[in-house]
Assembly symmetry: C2
Homo-oligomer: 241 residues x 2
DNA sequence: CCCATCAAAAGGTGCGATCATTGATGAGGC
DNA sequence: GCCTCATCAATGATCGCACCTTTTGATGGG
């Protein structure tokens, strides 16, 4: 419209529209059309579409235009795509997918972190202790607790030395934040959860991969149960169709 | 040089050079320089660089140029980046990272696949049976066995209904192929491995998440041991530094 | 001697025109 | 009546140019 906006604005707008379903798979866009819509030259639109094409969200074909691709071909692991989906209509499903991914990753990440030596471990133990303090004071749903939790799990994914795990740390943090925002975090965390965090941190510090993995799995079994329950509720709500 | 090559050629060339280390972090490129090198206009180069920027491999700065970014900021989960790293100098490390990721994912994927119902399961059982046949004939290192193996694990990651797991299926297949190419696959697979594959397929078919996860973990413990051993060997070889 | 300010250079950003490709369409022949 | 092929036009791909932002360094004043 009026504002001759920045390059990334157009990218975010279109990315969000596709991720959010405003533009459905099979819809066809043309450069000229988009250029007019955003009041910019075709070159700008072109670069944006090239990025979206790289992300698998559109496919350029001559004589046809830019076809919006189905979600199946998106680069669903790209942080940008994740962000768009988290912001839009696919939020719930994206949170579930990410949580499942997190459940899968963290035990192995713990194992790795315990194997590679005692790099960032003192901090993990401190964080776990702080979580216990806050939890016992009924502050489990505060921003500070969330920050500690995010830091803990980020460190867990980062310490293993596997860059692919580390790359997902940001998205996992987003999941934790989202869960708190939705009010799913209890003010008084379960005793076992706190203890497993502490044991996990300790196991990594002393370099015990087996125990680290076991306690991480214990932490995430709780998470899995939550998601499982939530999806059952959702299924129960939406199956009448 | 001479050939006014396609857009994607330039992307692949530069991506591979950065991923392979020919262009080290901190190196600075300019549009004019690249345009001359590839005999194309600046516009083309610009679009390529914008994609590489999206992938976190370069960073554009005015007055400076395009600075190659360290591996830490790459989108290491992007299939294209993975392909470039697998093709170049980082191949060994990329294989290890992917294997660790695979070890983390598949048990949870099995759990998911067993939970969501009996969608693609008959084929899994058939594949496992075929693997046993071939294995008993000492054909564990043949292309056919590899194809079955790839199909099995792809199906495993795909059947859970989590698109993020599915997105990694292609890269996991690449790992399996790479392992066979390196001659690491035995002609006579271990009995336990074959049995665990069969049990895994059966558990998914009957919808038993716990057993599916357990057998998947059994399958991958072997894989983990291989990697662990390989990295120890490598460490032993390279630590004299 | 140091700092502030300004100007020039370097390079990313944006534009409109032109090229090449491909899907459609219609005519011709079997 | 249907199939085939040639022509056409729509649209993405590419190009060269002009603009604007940023950085740097040089110069002048304190």
């Amino acid at each position: 419209m009026a504002a001759p906006v920045l390059h990334s604005d157009i990218l975010n707008t279109l990315g969000a529209e596709i991720a959010g379903g405003d533009l459905a798979a099979g819809d066809v866009l043309t450069l000229a059309e988009l250029a007019e819509r955003f009041n910019v030259s075709r070159t700008v639109v072109r670069e944006v579409m090239r990025i979206l094409e790289t992300l698998g969200m559109v496919r350029a074909k001559r004589r046809v235009g830019l076809t919006v691709q189905p979600a199946g071909s998106w680069s669903v692991l790209d942080p940008q795509v994740i962000a768009w989906r988290l912001a839009g209509a696919g939020r719930a499903e994206q949170l579930r997918s990410l949580t499942q991914l997190r459940v899968a990753l963290e035990p192995t990440a713990a194992r790795l972190a315990a194997s590679t030596g005692q790099h960032a471990c003192p901090e993990l133990v401190q964080l776990a202790a702080r979580m216990r303090q806050l939890g016992e004071q009924g502050l489990g749903d505060t921003p500070e607790y969330l920050a500690i939790d995010v830091r803990f799990h980020t460190l867990l994914l980062t310490s293993g030395g596997n860059e692919m795990f580390a790359a997902l740390a940001g998205s996992v943090a987003e999941v934790l934040t989202g869960r708190t925002k939705l009010g799913l975090t209890p003010a008084h965390p379960a005793h076992t959860a706190v203890e497993n965090h502490e044991e996990l941190a300790r196991a990594i510090e002393v370099g015990d991969p087996v125990r680290a993995e076991a306690h991480a799995r214990a932490v995430l079994d709780t998470v899995w149960a939550e998601v499982d329950y939530a999806s059952q509720v959702e299924r129960g709500r939406s199956t009448p169709e």
